[in-house]
C-alpha cells in the first residue's frame, strides 16, 4: 500500500471531529459576534446534550430522534435562561458577563456530575450503523460516516440561513452595527434572547449527535469550550464569510487534533498553539483591527 494509507483513518476522524467543532463553535460565534457575549457556559450546554444522548439512547433511531428533540430543547432553554440572567448586565461589561457565565458553567457542571455521576457515560448509537464499514480496505465506524453527512448538511443549512433568510440578515446587520439595528426598531433584548437560544440549540444538537465522539463526562464542558474557542479565534470574523471561515478553522483544528497527533505525537501538545500563532501572525494588522473594538 502507499504512504498515505495509514493516515486515511485519522484524516477522516479529523473531518468528523472538525464538523462537530464547527457546530459547537458556530453557536459560540453567534453569541459572541451578535450579542458581544463570551459565553463560558457554552461547553456546559454541549454537555447537557451529550448527557441526554447517553441517557435516552438505546440503539434505535427513534431514541436518537427523541434524544435530539429533548437535548436541543433543553440546551435552547438553557441558552434562553442565560439570556434572561444576562439581561441586567450592561452590554459592554465583559468582566461581569464572564463572571456570570463562568458561575453558571461551574454550578451547571457540578449539577450535571451530581445528577449523572463522575464517570464518563457510554453512548449507544443506532444498531444499523453500529458496525464497521469497509472503506478502501479499512474498517471505519459507520456512525461517524453518518455523523459527517448530517453535520455537513447542518453546516450547509446554517450557511443558507445566515446568507438567505430574514433572520440571517438581522444577524449580519447586528454584527455590523448593533446600534443602527436598534434604531431601526428591532429590540436588542429580543435579538440577544434569540441569538443565545439559537446558540444553545446548536450546542445541544452538537452534544446529542457528537456524544459518541466527545462523550459526556466531568471534563467534557471544558474540552469543548477550549476547542471551540480556538476555532473562533482562528476563524476570526470576516463579515459575511464568517460561516465559511469558522468551518475552515474547525476542519483545521479537527485535523490537528487527529492527523497531527498521528504524524507528530511528541509535538502534539503544542500543535494547536503553533497553529493559532501562525494564523494570527500571518493575518495582517488591518484584518484583526476589524474585530469588534468594544
Amino acid at each position: 500500500m502507499n504512504q498515505v494509507d495509514p493516515y486515511l483513518i485519522p484524516a477522516l476522524d479529523g473531518v468528523a471531529y472538525g464538523l462537530l467543532l464547527f457546530v459547537v463553535a458556530a453557536g459560540l460565534v453567534l453569541s459572541f459576534g451578535v450579542a458581544g457575549i463570551l459565553n463560558l457556559a457554552h461547553g456546559t450546554l454541549y454537555a447537557i446534550g451529550a448527557y441526554v444522548a447517553a441517557i435516552l439512547s438505546d440503539g434505535s433511531w427513534l431514541a436518537l430522534l427523541l434524544a435530539l428533540a429533548v437535548g436541543v430543547g433543553a440546551a435552547t432553554a438553557g441558552g434562553a435562561a442565560l439570556s434572561g440572567m444576562l439581561a441586567p448586565v450592561p452590554r459592554g461589561d465583559h468582566l461581569t458577563q464572564a463572571l456570570l457565565t463562568f458561575g453558571v458553567a461551574l454550578a451547571g457542571g457540578s449539577l450535571l456530575v451530581m445528577a449523572f455521576g463522575a464517570e464518563n457515560l457510554p453512548v449507544r448509537v443506532p444498531a444499523t450503523v453500529d458496525r464497521p464499514v469497509d472503506l478502501a480496505g479499512h474498517a471505519y465506524a459507520g456512525y461517524r460516516l453518518v455523523f459527517i453527512a448530517v453535520a455537513a448538511a447542518l453546516a450547509l443549512a446554517l450557511h443558507a440561513v445566515v446568507t438567505r433568510t430574514r433572520a440571517g440578515m438581522l444577524v449580519r446587520a447586528a454584527v455590523d452595527d448593533p446600534d443602527m439595528v436598534a434604531c431601526l426598531g428591532v429590540n436588542p433584548e429580543r435579538v440577544r434572547l434569540g441569538v443565545l437560544a439559537a446558540s444553545g440549540a446548536l450546542a445541544g444538537a452538537a452534544g446529542v449527535l457528537g456524544a459518541p465522539i466527545i462523550g459526556p463526562g466531568p471534563s467534557t464542558a471544558a474540552t469543548v469550550l477550549l476547542l471551540s474557542l480556538v476555532v473562533v479565534v482562528l476563524g476570526g470574523r470576516n463579515g459575511h464569510s464568517s460561516v465559511v471561515a469558522t468551518l475552515v478553522a474547525a476542519l483545521a483544528v479537527g485535523q490537528i487534533q487527529t492527523l497531527g497527533v498521528a504524524l507528530a505525537p511528541t509535538a502534539a501538545p503544542f500543535l494547536l498553539f503553533a497553529a493559532m500563532a501562525a494564523v494570527l501572525a500571518a493575518r495582517s494588522h488591518g484584518l484583526i483591527r476589524r474585530w469588534s473594538p468594544a
Binding site: F32, G36, I37, L38, L40, M85, P88, V89, G92, D93, H94, L95, T96, Q97, A98, L99, L100, F102, G103, V104, A105, L106, A107, G108, G109, S110, L111, M114, A222, L226, L229, V230, V232, V233, A268, P269, F270, L272, F273, M276, A277, L280, A281, H285, I288, R289, W291, S292, P293, A294
Partner: protein, 305 residues
Amino acid sequence: MRWLIAPAVLAAVAAPWLADPYTTATLARILVLGLVAASVALLTGVAGLPTLGQTAPFAAGAYAAATLALHSSSVGVTQLLMGASVGAAFAALTTPLVVYARGVVFLMITLAIGELVVTAASRWRSVTGGTDGLAGMPSPRPLWGLPILDTDRARYLYALAVVGVVLCVVVLLLRGPAGMYLRGCRDDEARMRASGHPVGAYLAIAYIAAGAIAGLAGSLLVTTQQYLSPADFGFDVAALLLLGVVIGGAGSVVGAIAGTAVVLAARDWLSGLLPGRGPLLLGALFIAAAYVLPRLRFMLRRVVA
C-alpha cells in the same frame, strides 16, 4: 481606604506567630495568588485589557523555577529571576497574538492561551511531570550565605517580603507617567493615538511586565508550596483571580490582593461548609457577585461622596 494599609501590613507580618503551620502555608499560597491577581489587575484595571490568561506565564515561571530548583540552584533570588524572565519571555512570545485585540476578544484569546498552556503542562511529562505533578523541590535560601527557609513561617515571611517589594515597585511606577499612559490607553485610545503615543507598544510593555510579575509569582509558588501540578494553573484559578480583581476594584493593584484573599477564603469556607458541593456553591458565589458587585460599588460611591 488608605488607613487600612498599615494595620493590614502589621497583621500580615504577625500572622505566622498567631496561626498554626497549616494556616501559615495557606496564607503563603494566598499571597502568591494575590501577586498573580496584581498582574491581572495591572492588565484588566489599569490598561483596560480584561484577561483570563495570566495563569499561563504563572505556569511558565513556576515550571522554569522548579526545574532550576531541582537541578541546580537553591538560591531564592536566582529562582525569582528565572521565573520572572521566563514569564516575561512567554508574554513576549504571545504578544503578537493579543496586542491588537481589545475587550472581549482579548478575554477570549487569553483564555485560549491559558487553557493551551494547562493542556501542554499536563502532557509534557518530561518537564512538568504531567498530571502527577512535580514534587521534591528543596527549600531555597533567600540569598547566598543566608540560612535555608526550612519552616512554613520562614517561607511565608520570604513570600511576604518578595510580594511587598514587587507591589511597592509596581505602585510607584503606576503613580508616574507609565500609569498615566496606560490609563490613557484604557480610557481613550483614539485620543492617545492622535497625540502621537505608540499605544500598541505601551500595551505590549504592560503585557510583558504583567507576564514577568506572574512568572515571578510562579517561582514563589514553588518555594511556598513545594509541589506543582497543572491543576494549580487551571481555568478555575484564572476565573477566581478575575473575581478577586473585580472585588478589589479593578483599577487597584493592592485591592487585587485583598480581593483574592477574600475569594480564596470564601472558597475554602464554602467547600468546608458542604463537602463535595464546593464547585456548586462557588458557582453560585460567582453569579451572586456578578449581580451584587456593581450595585455595591455604586452604593459605596454614594456613601463616600
